[in-house]
Point group: none
Chain length 200, copies 4
DNA sequence: GGATAACCGAGACGGTACGTCCTGTCTTCGA
DNA sequence: TCGAAGACAGGACGTACCGTCTCGGTTATCC
């Protein structure tokens, strides 16, 4: 029996990805995370809310973790890098702004969910690792400026300083704590002093 | 047994809570977390492995989070507090030992799972918050000793130092990173310097 | 690391199959087939209507075909075997009753669905084959009685007669036809005459 | 809405139906039915195999049933009408040839699928009903010739005889049975005797 | 010979159903 | 009388098809 498979007579591309659908899905994902948290977040729930078919979601995202990360990146805080001429002040303003953003917008809840998912899903874990390094480099810029001003010891590694800053902020988030102004400043003063200190 | 003349048809009161069952359940929970991580952890899986009924688990634990916390407390690391006479060394040894313990025993995976669950479950979140404060006080002891030795500035808050140390360790855990010896020392030297520094 | 798998300390049996659930599921299956036909029949729809969980259905039936067959056997027509002393009359009454039953109760629609499913599913196909043979033997009984009365030629195979009777009835069903009284009698007279005839 | 002044710009025609696509689609449908049966038959599968777009199929066929019927008519058996001068022989040869054709070519599987689909789809059901009547008239021709030869009782309805013949053949098909030579002859002898018999 | 409309393939879309897994509650029975 | 075994309702998982739609690209006419 001959096969009916014809050679592709034409080159064609097919329909394009629907921007409306993508938008509606990410929107719905964000809303669910904001309203019901990670516990209420499911592909089914997102599809229902976005009035999208589940296969549409699975066509563009590999799973829960992938969608979660996209929803986060879509509304992650873009914290302005302060430049007050003083390292302690710069770091305090930066972390204060970040925590305030997490506390008052959905992004805190979403990022918390991303961190939780990263404990399940290796892809999410890697994405979080990459994101942490990216943020570390970002904050290291603040420290480098301080070093250029001569405010920081020459043997201080800006990445190490940034690592401490990030660790503090993330840990506050995952333990659901929102430090007061004084507490915040005390911590970042400690870091800034450590950076400034000459070799022992 | 009964001594009275008129015996009740049956004197027996039934089985008592089985310590063996509790042990098997916690054991199974730990093993699953070690082998398959949080993703493979389910009440069903624990019951299967422990050869216990699901209702037995639900009778003694309120849910996933509760069981998880119990499994953690059962084998949480009891890191000895070092006393080398030098703050930086004390902190480096302490954190190094902690991370090594997390890396080489089930406790790292289990605590990671507890942190993940705390993003969903309010009870777990509160338990984590309490645990964080407990650990903070624990580590603050190291700093207080250094202050008593005059190694630390008088206006340094031992709790703030401890907070930074914990944040660093926990963040390494949740981002699945295991810093090398040099990297670890650089971070803790930074903290120790910040603690020692006189008022700016 | 030691395994936590304990030896089963007790032999126990667990909860028993719920007769209510089974009843509700078969009831729902029958109603759906009656109201919406095979096209509207799905495990999901049955579960919804029976207020049962899908896993409960899959626990006891291997799939659509299996459930369908059970629903059929539950309300299949138990046509009384007539005994009028005349073969043509017996067969006409039997087939007329059967077709009438199929036409006026859900069982016709259900059996039609079973036949359709048997074209997809090998298990259903075998069940249908077995059922056909069973019915053939059943009807052959009518012919044997006629042979004992001397009404039928000695070289007539009762099974062959029964085969023709069944084929006629089933084909009417699958072509959605309901023959009139006269048409029905003409066909069965033909069969009865064939059975009676002496060797040519 | 629009003014009648302005005539339709053009009476355009455009590209015509692609015979190549139609051919490939029917070919693919037949192959799938032959290889995987009705269970593996889906519009998606046909489109994939024929390297055609789904809308192309839906443009020319109303759905699964329609395509199925077309695929059947395309290769339905054209059984030659035998003329041996003996009714029993004619019918045995005819049915034997038909069953052999169904058994050894795709047409059996395809027709089985058509019958299955006719239990779901009203259009298919009607087509099957029409086809059954057409086949009945076709076979009735054999009986009429026998009546003209005086081989058949004058009060025998050729349509009733044909009905029985068809019913037998179709029922064998849908129960996936292939009767042996002896069994086949016994059945058709029964029919032929019934046709010949004088009024009781 | 250029415009134009219907065709074509490819494939995304909102949906429904599939069959599996897990949750937390319940029922049964054995010790 | 408690614990094991496991059934239960429910709901999410990720996949396959349904039938419709929107793309570009092609082709055959008509002006």
């Amino acid at each position: 029996m001959s096969s009916s498979q014809r050679k592709p007579a034409r080159r064609s591309t097919g329909a394009r990805r629907s921007a409306e659908a993508e938008e509606a899905i990410l929107q719905a994902a964000g809303e669910i995370l904001q309203e019901a948290g990670y516990a209420g977040f499911s592909i089914e729930a997102v599809a229902r809310r976005a009035k999208a078919g589940k296969p549409t979601i699975y066509r563009w995202w590999r799973g829960k973790a992938d969608l979660l990360l996209d929803a986060y990146h879509r509304q992650k805080p873009e914290i302005p890098v302060p430049d007050t001429g003083n390292l302690e002040e710069d770091l305090t303003v930066f972390v204060g702004t970040l925590l305030e953003h997490w506390r008052t917008t959905p992004s805190g809840n979403i990022f918390r969910s991303v961190l939780a998912e990263a404990q399940n899903d290796e892809a999410a874990a890697e994405a979080v690792r990459d994101y942490a390094l990216d943020r570390r480099d970002h904050i290291a810029g603040i420290v480098k400026r301080a070093r250029d001003r001569g405010e920081v010891a020459s043997d201080t590694d800006p990445h190490a300083v940034a690592e401490l800053v990030i660790s503090f902020a993330w840990t506050q988030l995952i333990t659901h704590r929102w430090p007061g102004e004084a507490e915040l400043r005390a911590i970042l003063r400690l870091i800034a002093r450590g950076a400034k200190a000459e070799r022992a």
